[in-house]
């Protein structure tokens, strides 16, 4: 089997900023990806959605970069950019023709070091409106748009950091102030709480020198405070918890989640393989049985959330045909998932083959390399995992998959949200 070897160099600046470099001159493209160790899990009651609103504020300018200039400069350079907020982290990224690497470093360092002086109420009000419209567009005005809110509150107890969604509540967004922006920045947006990954066409020594020049003078902050709430959670949900919804949706849908070990657990590899057996490709169990043979599902999805805090969740969903009963669909879905206790070794071989091809394909993008390198450094202190990630999956035995299914995928560890088309009540 072919093996990839992605270069990985680790450095740490005096202020604590961790730097991962992965030079590859094949294509004159460079990707910069900056991960901050803060996400929705750090939000306190009454402040949900703030980590994401703050991410928007990061594009509103800094001392030396006026509003809109960040986008203007990157686009003029022929680059692309964006940012995402998630449960455990927030990341900011640019992909550029490689001769513009320093532009990205200048922009990212300016907002890491000098963001606050550029903040004002008008910008906050503007981005609050933008985010409220994002919430409407992606959640409130979408069929099934509230599924994750319903599901997370079933899988994680009220005091757990994953009980609330990343997008947060409208009322909390309304209540956000400029003081919140300042406090959040000072607490979490410090070099010692961040990882900078650069992948693509550059020379390491010169890149590291430039990183130090732009980021080196930014002062370190205090260690970040411990998470609010209680991240400790029992390994199993302890029963089947459910939320049956009648809503203005086109088709019946059943969404099922299981509490699983966190991404940092060695057992997570078993989760990933089990996930692949259930839902990766058209030969997977759920597609073959529910979509193809029994024809009770129009489509199926299986996804293992790579979450760090106490526990994570394996998500499985099936969308049924018009007129079908969600209960019948749920029963069929549960049967196929429980059937994993009798999984065959050939299924694992198939999953590994697909995973290998998918991995190589994704690493064609320098942006994907930078993203993974930053994640592995921030989460595991191990960016070289990019070269060994497949080996973790290959080491999983069929017995581990069966044991995982028996232990975790039964009715004692199940959260269910069902949607039945009808008039909303």
């Amino acid at each position: 089997m072919s093996r990839l070897s992605i270069p990985v160099e680790r450095h740490r600046l005096d202020n604590g900023l961790r730097v991962v470099l992965s030079p590859d001159p094949t294509v004159p493209v460079v990707a910069v990806n900056l991960w901050y160790g803060v996400g929705s899990r750090n939000e306190r009651a009454g402040k949900t959605g703030f980590a994401h609103l703050f991410e928007h504020m990061m594009f509103q300018g800094s001392t030396h970069v006026p509003k809109n200039k960040h986008f203007e400069l990157v686009e003029r350079a022929g680059g692309t950019l964006n940012a995402t907020t998630w449960f455990d982290r927030t990341n900011y990224f640019e992909t550029l023709p490689s001769h513009h690497l320093e532009l990205a470093l200048w922009l990212e360092s300016d907002r890491m070091g000098w963001m606050l002086p550029a903040m004002d109420q008008e910008k906050l009000d503007n981005q609050r409106d933008v985010v409220k419209n994002e919430k409407r567009q992606r959640y409130d005005n979408q069929p099934y748009g509230d599924w994750d809110e319903r599901l997370q509150s079933l899988v994680f107890p009220p005091d757990h950091p994953y009980h609330h969604t990343v997008i947060g509540a409208m009322a909390d967004l309304e209540a956000a102030t400029l003081d919140d922006v300042a406090a959040f920045f000072e607490t979490y947006y410090r070099p010692n709480n961040a990882v900078l990954a650069i992948a693509g066409d550059f020379e390491s020594g010169r890149a590291l020198e430039a990183v130090d020049r732009y980021f080196g003078e930014i002062e370190a902050g205090a260690p970040v405070p411990r998470l609010p709430g209680n991240p400790d959670v029992a390994p199993l949900i302890g029963g089947t918890v459910r939320d049956d919804v009648v809503a203005n949706v086109p088709l019946p849908r059943v969404i099922m989640a299981f509490r699983i070990p966190p991404y940092s657990s060695p057992d997570f590899a078993t989760v990933e393989v089990a996930r692949a057996l259930l839902g990766q490709g058209k030969a997977s169990r759920l597609y073959r049985r529910l979509v193809r043979e029994r024809r009770v599902a129009k489509s199926v999805v299986a996804y293992a959330f790579p979450l760090l805090t106490g526990a994570s969740m394996l998500l499985v969903w099936a969308t049924g045909y018009p007129g079908a009963s969600p209960r019948d669909l749920e029963k069929a879905l549960a049967e196929e998932i429980e059937g994993l206790v009798e999984a065959a070794p050939e299924e694992v071989e198939r999953a590994i083959a697909l995973s290998e091809a998918d991995l190589v394909s994704s690493l064609e993008h320098q942006s994907e390399r930078a993203d993974r390198l930053a994640m592995f450094e921030l989460y595991f202190d191990d960016p070289d995992r990019i070269n060994h990630d497949l080996e973790r999956l290959e080491a999983v035995s069929i017995d581990q998959v069966r044991a995982f299914a028996a232990e975790r995928l039964g009715p004692n560890n199940r959260a269910v949200v069902t949607y039945r088309p009808g008039e909303e009540r």
Binding site: T26, V27, P28, V29, H64, N68, F71, E72, L73, E75, R76, A77, G78, G79, L96, P97, H99, H100, L101, E102, L103, L105, W106, W114, D125, N126, D129, V130, V131, N133, R138, D140, N141, P143, V249, P250, L251, G281, K282, A283, Y287, R288, V291, R292, R295, K298, T319, P322, E349, R350, A353, E356, A357, D358, V360, S361, L363, E364, H365, E424
Partner: protein, 456 residues
């Protein structure tokens, strides 16, 4: 060490030459037009087999048939069941997909390069010997019907689909959604699909086979000859049509969706075709209007007014004129102001033209970002297929950046004035009519009609 002077952005480094990969083109004995780009960056290969025809070759009664056939093609062959096919392909780590659009059907395959020889016969089998087993056809048809139903209840998809019928005259294929309607799909069975595939899945008639990745052209042409050598014929031609507009009068259509907390807005009209000599100036003109984050539309509607999470505009270039369309989603209470701003920005650009600065920075963006869009074998194959679909010059992508850089402000202004027509724009809004219809009427931009979302 003295603090760094941060007051202005750093100078860029030395630019590196980077060309679109060279492509070896050959015509095989049975007429297959083969293009191979050797891209040995990673041990991967992507193949795209394009067969001309597609949805624009079908009359309204058969709308969606090409899309459904592509969705059902992996249901089984004369040699093996669909389940076995998926199993064997995935055990080789191969991804196969088929997709049909207005211009034709593309069957794609991606795998590790050292598996190509094992995987290739399956691709040939799919195209030469699809069997469309009845059970699998039933499944694909019910899935297609369910997807049509989902689109009808998704506000964004509903807005896009309804707008087509407002832009194009009823007999233009582009007036309907590409995936067909309940009426046109309901009666499709195995025989229909067998007949369709036999006629449409043919190598001639300006189809093409594109390969990009870690392969040698000779190795590829041998594989093609061995497994597709007996493949002959051409699909039936597409009768030429002109994409006439439904009307030249500006009208507003509100598709009533009770309880909507947001309005999905589409503003557009018939655009232009892929062969237009205005292609590059119009590319720049549309980008600065609504194609980038710093476009006029986005800076106005998002960054100035906070009306929306985002807004964009695009020309869909096809062999006949596709739509030009602005799309966004906004809160109910700013629906009319957002429509007003969109039309005002169209008028401002058409009447006043772009500035030199806008054109210069947009040229730089378009030329620079091109390098980011040919990073993967998949992206390269997709671009080569684009050459086949629209009959563009073999060197088109090698000359692409020069053509972008050659666009002038005057040419952009002319192209925009020719192809954007705010006075003829059709406005379609999916939202709660009780809240948005009256303010839209008060704009006095054209007659307002309220229709129900369920088609009545």
């Amino acid at each position: 060490m003295s603090p760094l002077d941060r007051s202005s952005p750093p100078a860029s480094g030395a630019i590196r030459d980077f060309d679109f990969p060279d492509t070896e083109r050959s015509r095989l004995e049975n007429g297959i037009d083969l293009r191979v780009a050797c891209v040995p960056r990673l041990p991967l290969v992507t193949l795209d087999l394009f067969m001309r025809g597609g949805e624009q070759a079908l009359d309204a009664e058969r709308a969606g048939l090409a899309v459904l056939a592509a969705e059902a093609i992996d249901g089984g062959t004369r040699r093996r069941s669909g389940a076995d096919l998926s199993e064997e392909l995935e055990r080789l780590g191969a991804r196969v997909s088929a997709y049909a659009g207005w211009e034709g059907t593309t069957v794609s395959l991606t795998c590790l390069a050292d598996r190509l020889e094992e995987v290739f016969p399956f691709l040939a089998e799919l195209v030469l010997e699809p069997d469309f087993p009845a059970g699998e056809v039933d499944r694909a048809r019910e899935q297609r019907l369910a997807s049509i139903r989902q689109r009808s209840m998704d506000p964004g998809a509903l807005a896009s689909d309804r707008a087509l019928g407002r832009y194009f005259a009823p007999d233009v294929p582009y007036a309907r959604p590409v995936g067909g309607t309940e009426a046109s799909i309901s009666s499709v069975d195995r025989r229909t699909l067998l007949g369709y595939a036999d006629a449409a899945y043919r190598p001639g008639g300006r189809g093409g086979f594109v390969v990009a990745g870690d392969v040698e052209p000779k190795e590829v042409s041998e594989l093609v000859l061995r497994h597709l050598g007996s493949w002959m014929g051409a699909p039936g031609g597409v009768s030429a049509f002109k994409a006439e507009p439904a009307t030249r009068e500006r009208r507003v259509t509100v598709v009533h969706r009770p309880g909507s907390v947001q309005s999905e807005i589409r503003v557009g009209h018939v655009g232009t075709d892929r062969a237009t000599p205005d292609y590059f100036p119009l590319l720049v003109g549309n980008m600065l209007f609504g194609g980038t984050f710093t476009s006029r539309l986005n800076l106005n509607l998002r960054e100035r007014h906070g009306f929306t999470y985002g807004v964009r505009s695009r020309f869909s270039y096809r062999s006949a004129a596709g739509p030009f369309e602005v799309s966004t989603a906004v809160a109910n209470d700013v629906t009319a102001p957002a429509v007003r701003e969109i039309l005002a920005e169209m008028e401002r650009l058409v009447d006043g033209g772009p500035t030199d600065e806008e054109v210069a920075s947009t040229r730089d963006f378009a030329a620079g970002v091109f390098g980011l869009q040919i990073e993967t074998v998949d992206q390269i194959a997709t671009r080569l297929t684009h050459l086949v679909v629209f009959g563009l010059d073999d060197r088109y992508f090698n000359d692409y950046r020069d053509n972008v850089r050659g666009v002038t402000t005057a040419a952009t202004a002319e192209a925009v004035a020719r192809h954007m027509r705010p006075a003829e724009a059709q406005v379609v809004v999916v939202g709660d009519a009780d809240e948005i219809a009256r303010p839209l009427e008060a704009l006095a931009i054209g007659p307002v009609e309220v229709v129900r979302g369920d088609g009545a």
